[in-house]
Symmetry: C2
Subunit: 124 residues, 2 copies
Amino acid sequence: MNRRNTESTNEILAILKQAKSALNHEMIQERASVKMDRATIYRVLNRFCEDKLVHKIVGDDGKQYFAFCTNCQEKHHQHNHFHFRCTECGKMECMQSEVKVPLPDGYVVRNFNGVISGVCSSCV
Amino acid sequence: MNRRNTESTNEILAILKQAKSALNHEMIQERASVKMDRATIYRVLNRFCEDKLVHKIVGDDGKQYFAFCTNCQEKHHQHNHFHFRCTECGKMECMQSEVKVPLPDGYVVRNFNGVISGVCSSCV
DNA sequence: GTAACTGCAAAATATTTGCATCCTT
DNA sequence: AAGGATGCAAATATTTTGCAGTTAC
């Protein structure tokens, strides 16, 4: 299970690092300078998720978006922040503020997936 | 565009009304006493959404869930509450507490889609 | 050399749509 | 009678998987 240093891997990671928002597989494909297969992109992204290099958000459009983890310490890998999806330009932005949701006793949290959709200020 | 009184419509609305959690199309089909086509179920559910009788939540599993609106006044139809999806039993529960997420100026909100997944107390 | 990675095609899953027919009003 | 609703099949869309060939280490 050792990870290897390949062109696709580097390219996708670079794209996610410089992106200001979360990207879906199509957005990544568009931005890539090398041609990569859909399957490869998904496989790379899922590997990144396993390695906790990126986090995945499922939009209210049913699509998977991926964003590079900036403010996640190794031990405390949690993403209790919202994402804003603009229905005009498609951007899926990270909102900085963390959110706390009270849950009933005995509930174990595995994943936080908060998405607000609407129109961003650039598109109004 | 007048809505008609049909068996499918009544059945699905009754199922959603008595459900304690949000249901996806498969769950509705299982609970229905009459056999209904997938397409019909989706069409009925989308009509209910248009009429704001039910609200739709897209889970972090990428599926659409639907829940009857209990505490929505006609004028103030908003759902700023989270849902908890148990990965064991599949239940998609409404969490009562409302959440406020601060957004940058000029952002227009259309939809709130908050899902936390994990294991519920019955399944731990 | 070996195991990880890739591309292509096909499969799996979820949802929508076209169309002929049926049913409510 | 008119047009909304349904069922069936087919189309769409997104993501995953099998497999053979390639590449990193």
